[in-house]
Homo-oligomer: 155 residues x 5
């Protein structure tokens, strides 16, 4: 099993590096391929190349969006590209995007990045291990980047 990690020079912290560490701690048998690009809009093709040229089974795409409206638009475009990659390859690409406007300061931004990176790294490990592995948590209001929200039964 091989997990691809696509990340950017633009981001203000090394989420991909933390993902490499997290994966190694949880399952050292999983191979990792890493690909760094300039910014968030370069991630879709990086993810596709990791799948098609480096034979990854799943990709984690780490991006950060700055504070300006144009940054939000870039993240939107990148997200659409990441969905397209998945439909072209039938592989998951988990978009792990952090928006600077989510946090009031760098300390909070760091916690969001840490939490989101670790949880999605574990999601990737689960998804390639068994495709039904996440069903035990369905509808449980799971959040990456913060505590989970509240959930309720539909009876």
């Amino acid at each position: 099993m091989k997990i691809g990690i696509a990340d950017t020079m633009f981001a203000r912290a090394d989420m991909g590096g933390l993902a490499v560490k997290t994966i190694a701690e949880h399952n050292p048998k999983i191979k990792v391929e890493r690909y760094t690009v300039p910014g968030i809009k370069d991630l879709p093709v990086a993810a596709k190349k990791l799948i098609e040229e480096r034979h990854c089974d799943i990709v984690l795409a780490f991006g950060m969006a700055g504070k300006m409206p144009i940054d939000q638009q870039c993240a939107h475009e990148a997200s659409l590209g990441i969905i397209a990659v998945q439909l072209l390859t039938n592989k998951h690409v988990l978009g792990v995007f952090v928006h600077e406007i989510e946090a009031k300061d760098d300390a909070e931004l760091k916690e969001i990045m840490r939490d989101r990176t670790i949880k999605h790294s574990l999601n990737a490990i689960s998804l390639i291990a068994r495709p039904d592995s996440l069903t035990q948590n369905v509808g449980k209001a799971k959040r990456q980047g913060s505590d989970d929200a509240g959930y309720f039964a539909l009876d």
Copy 2:
């Protein structure tokens, strides 16, 4: 006949589970395949995999969008992806999305989720049974998640 159910850990209630129950009650001969992913943007590829790898004839894609603008954007991106899946496979994927901002509190949110899930599960059963089955209700202002709206004749 086989119905795929794609759902998320992000959602605050288990709509997919209610769909499984609804389908079993209405037609126990229909097989169900289930696939749970982290969030709404992961649903398009899940739907495509349910169709192409698990041979589903139709898919119900259950997603919930949170209260922030970024959540609305994610739902928009997921909806575009779901349309793309349908055009690539010529199969229906019914997007069953609930937005937290639709409801004033959790009690109302729960009712929306229940109603929308049940009605769209029945729509899926109808669509795979006979492609012309819904024409009897054309232009009847059918709503999922609330009572139907009013309709009128065009004479």
Copy 3:
């Protein structure tokens, strides 16, 4: 020649039925295939299936958008899907969408739906009869759903 009609249970009136009637009155030799889906976002795949599985030469896709911002977004997504269907099939799919916010009351909404449905049904008949049939009206400010606007010469 065969015209496909895709329409929805969501719409508050039966535009597809009026289209069937209009086509029969103008050219009873044209065959009609009809496909009803739950809502506007289900129209793109319905149009594609009408073209590829039921061999329609052109499709009229009737949709209605409700009053909420989410409804406008759904119409936008459906429109993008309809454009994609056309590029994948090289056939016209005329999107005949009515937005509730276009009208001040149901009486006006009904007139918009009637006018737009009839005029686009005639456009479909013209387009499949002769691809150059609409050039006589080029730049004439033709409107569907209201009176035409004013036009002027470019000399």
Copy 4:
């Protein structure tokens, strides 16, 4: 060499006709194929059919957007479709769109339409003649629909 002209009944003036005249005056050897559709969202498939079915080397797609927000959205959808056509065919489709809100009155609207139509017709002639023909004007702030803007050197 053959230039396709796609235009609409919706537009308030006949830009396609002016393009035919402009091309004939500048190079009478260039063949022209014309295709008129109802509105701006029908232009992408018209452009694709002009390229694939009528063998055009380049297409000019003339559209007009009305004054309402929905008109802006239609132009946006059409523009995305036109980009998709180009990527599917590896041919240029120059979108020549005029928005009513660009002009304060019909006299100004007419001047914009004239100027933009003529200049883009000449751009099309240049692009199919020699792919490097426009490089002499790179970074020169060329505008279609108004006077050029100011440009500066990057030293």
Copy 5:
């Protein structure tokens, strides 16, 4: 190795020319192919033709967006097209877009254009030389068009 340069007549300065110069100074062995189009929405197909018809290994796509909302929308559409080109070719196309609203005057605009052009030209050289070349700068808050932002560790 060959770098494609796609640029526009619309831009108010010759970014493509500065890229040619920058590439020649850093690695004179790299070949350059240049393609100039009218505006930003014509860049995606230009990039695709540079890759598929002129065999470029990577493309720099230089575009400028004017001050009006419609200009922002054009840049958005072009960005989506550039992502699509990359997914269709598995090659990088670095979108080097400058928005007039980024700068308070032409002097600042010029500096943004210079800095962004030079840095992304170097990024292109790095990416085709070694795909892992940018990983040394991952998460370092690299910016093109301004000084880098601040970065922090995720421990």
